[in-house]
């Protein structure tokens, strides 16, 4: 009687394991490329689109995206858990480049951060330069007229927010009107909407959510310090063992290729009426590289 | 025959039975005493379910607690204890009655006969295929008794066996016990039922203040 149960249990486990192995194998035919990426990039769907196109040329490759904040994406790759990182936080990327964990990368796309806030704009920042706008929000916050919600996580957006505060020469940390969420962009926007607060957002997440963000308007969307550059890095095989460098380089080449850049340039037009990203197209003027260098200085 | 020699027992730290000397010999021993006096504990000690803290329990002269587990199990097979609250296994009444026989590896055809006899003796043959756990407590008590009788133990310890029986069930039970007594079975009955005790017992054990008083000719 007891033996029979053990036998049944064993049979079930073996059966399930075999099934599992089958499913597992199916995904693992030739090469697997693991890419850690910033969440805001992945959530737009553009990466799945790129991977889909890539797979039409390389059908035996399995591409796996792991979507986390930029800082986390960099850290995980540095731990050896991915071959490629997609990030938009130059000042965070810098340290991994300096210690050689990442090979020098390429900027493949850019767009702009925006400062969003309530429609009645109590701090009066509409149309301002981003640094002045942050200073104005600080002043309004101190006067009890404005609230700011911050990602306060390990993301590129948060890294940029801190850069903007420091350029404005103010420090909001610990203020009662400054709410540190520790949440992703989507949640942060929703909180900002509920609290009628200001926040910094990437344009793509804001556009995806705009239909749910009745109170929130894009108030500042121009200015050098709002440029949001997305870079692709391959993990340095000299530092981290087990990196599939050849495959990684092939994918990077594809993203930077004319075809890949075209996908980036047009993604989102059908859904939002305008593209979510601008392709870097080799950054011929060096303008993006300059912006990157400029941002990377903020340790 | 079951002997308790200077037996003490504690569930946690305080003795609930202390320095008990007692013999359950063939015939009926009634065990009486107030609630919580330790009647059940005493029977479970005698049934080799509880191990005494100190002292010895002898079943037909041997001490099961000094033996290997296997040997103890075979000694235990001569002693059957029936709980006050009937404990039913899943499955039918017949399955329940068969349990004691199955663990003894009695051949299947013999099991069938013995189940039949036991059910007949308790007057519950019609319940044989009912699910035991869905029966009333009174019926379950009869099943528990049938299960005990089916293995024909030489020592039978019954804890409040008539608590949930009606009048005819109780009379039937008394007939059964009398017959077992004629066969020389050693029976102990813990009960609150004075009339039952008066009618059946050959001797009396009074449990009070953690110890027992043995009265040979009540």
């Amino acid at each position: 009687m007891k033996m029979r149960w053990v036998a049944i249990a064993l049979a079930v486990i073996v059966a399930v394991s075999i099934l599992f192995l089958f499913i597992y194998r199916r995904e693992h035919y030739e090469g697997t490329l693991r890419i850690t990426t910033t969440t805001s990039l992945y959530a737009t769907g553009i990466l799945d689109k790129l991977a889909e196109e890539f797979k039409q040329r390389h059908p035996n490759v399995s591409i796996q995206f792991i979507a986390v904040g930029s800082g986390e994406a960099l850290r995980r790759a540095a731990q050896g858990d991915a071959e490629i990182v997609l990030s938009h936080a130059p000042n965070l990327e810098k340290q991994y480049l300096d210690d050689g964990t990442l090979k020098p990368g390429k900027i493949f796309a850019y767009n702009y951060f925006i400062i969003v806030g309530p429609g009645d704009d109590p701090a009066g920042i509409a149309g301002m330069d981003p640094v002045n706008a942050m200073a104005a929000i600080y002043a309004a916050g101190e006067n009890g007229k404005a609230v700011f919600v911050s990602r306060a996580d390990n993301s590129g957006t948060y890294a940029r927010e801190l850069v903007l505060w420091s350029l404005a020469g103010v420090n909001p940390l610990g203020k009662s009107w400054y709410l540190e969420l520790g949440a992703d962009m989507a949640q942060t926007l929703m909180v900002a909407n509920e609290k009628e607060a200001y926040t910094l957002s990437d344009i793509s997440t804001y556009l995806k959510f705009s239909s749910r963000l009745g109170e929130l308007k894009s108030l500042v969307d121009k200015g050098d310090m709002l440029i949001n550059v997305y870079s692709v890095y391959v993990v340095n095989p000299a530092k981290i063992i087990g990196v599939n460098e050849g495959l990684a380089e092939t994918f990077v080449e594809f993203i930077l290729s004319e075809e890949g850049q075209k996908i980036i340039d047009s993604y989102g037009i059908t859904e939002f009426g305008k593209p979510l990203f601008k392709a870097a197209k080799g950054d011929l003027t060096g303008e993006l590289k300059n912006a990157w260098e400029n941002l990377a200085k903020f340790g | 025959m079951i002997e308790l020699k200077l037996v003490s027992f504690a569930y946690v730290s305080e003795d609930v039975i202390r320095d008990v000397n007692l013999v359950f010999s063939p015939g009926v021993t009634a065990v009486v005493g107030p609630n919580g006096s330790g009647k059940t504990t005493l029977l479970k000690l005698a049934a080799v379910i509880y191990r005494p803290r100190v002292g010895e329990v002898l079943i037909d002269g041997v001490n099961p607690w000094s033996m290997s587990e296997k040997a103890r199990a075979s000694v235990r097979r001569d002693v059957v204890y029936v709980h006050e609250k009937p404990i039913m296994l899943r499955g039918s009444v017949a399955d329940n009655v068969a349990y004691g026989l199955r663990v003894r590896n009695v051949p299947a055809d013999e099991v069938v006969v013995k189940i039949e006899e036991a059910l007949e003796a308790l007057g519950i043959k019609h319940l044989a295929h009912e699910k035991a756990q869905t029966l009333s407590v009174g019926q379950q008590q009869k099943v528990a008794l049938a299960r005990a009788l089916a293995v024909r133990p030489r020592n039978l310890l019954l804890d409040e066996p008539t608590a949930n029986l009606d009048k005819s069930g109780r009379e039937n039970f008394m007939e059964l016990v009398k017959e077992l007594r004629r066969k020389g079975v050693c029976i102990a009955v813990a009960t609150h039922d004075r009339l039952l005790a008066m009618e059946l017992m050959d001797r009396l054990v009074l449990v009070e203040n953690r110890t027992t008083k043995f009265i040979k000719n009540p």
Partner: protein, 212 residues
């Protein structure tokens, strides 16, 4: 889209099911061991287990992540971001809950069934078998609760699986992703499916447990 949802649902059931089978495989015997005799050590161990029932899933995920990461001590296995690592994580996660509930069930049957079995002449081994057989429907329920926790948890699946499309994406991580994408309707649909799946499995197991 529906095909992808079906895949995610199947994957969730397979991963959590395997994790539950493994967890049950060691948890029930451990529970039996812990309830076999009352000693201070075993009671203390059971207290520890009961406490671990409430361990945050992200914490389990984090510890195993550090273990499985390529730079971690078990990195050479290369199982991080695979279904295998989720299976391991969930199995670890639900071990305390299965032990704890099984111990509860076994302790109760032991007080009754075990004593009855022994008194009617079963050897200790036979009594143990009977005890487990009698507890089976409720042990099954304990295991099922483990499964329900596994299939409904997010932290382990996200940390160890990475929510990779077509590979380690399970229902909970898919829901989290859809929420972050602003696809609330899809997230709610997935949530409904998740509940429906767990409910169906619970009902089936409950039925099987009763019949046997």
């Amino acid at each position: 889209m529906w095909q992808e949802i079906a895949e995610v649902v199947t994957r969730s059931i397979l991963i959590s099911g395997t994790a539950t089978l493994f967890a049950a495989f060691w948890s029930v015997p451990i529970a039996m061991m812990l309830t076999a005799k009352d000693s201070k050590f075993r009671v203390a161990l059971l207290d520890v287990t009961n406490t671990l029932v409430g361990v945050p899933t992200v914490l389990v995920g984090l510890v195993l992540y550090l273990l499985f990461s390529r730079s971690g001590p078990l990195g050479f296995l290369g199982i991080l971001y695979t279904p295998t690592s989720i299976v391991i994580g969930e199995a670890v996660l639900i071990t305390p809950i299965i032990i704890s509930l099984s111990a509860l069930v076994l302790r109760e049957t032991k007080a009754k069934v075990w004593e009855m079995a022994v008194s009617i002449g079963a050897t200790e081994r036979q009594a143990s078998v009977t005890m487990v057989a009698e507890s089976l429907p409720r042990l099954l329920m304990a295991i099922l609760l483990g499964f329900n926790r596994a299939i409904g948890e997010l932290g382990v699946a996200l940390m160890l699986g990475g929510n990779i499309k077509g590979f380690t994406r399970v229902m909970t991580t898919a829901i989290a992703l859809e929420v972050s994408k602003g696809e609330f309707e899809l997230a709610l649909t997935l949530g409904g499916i998740l509940l429906l799946v767990t409910f169906t499995i619970t009902a089936i197991v409950g039925k099987v447990g009763k019949v046997r």
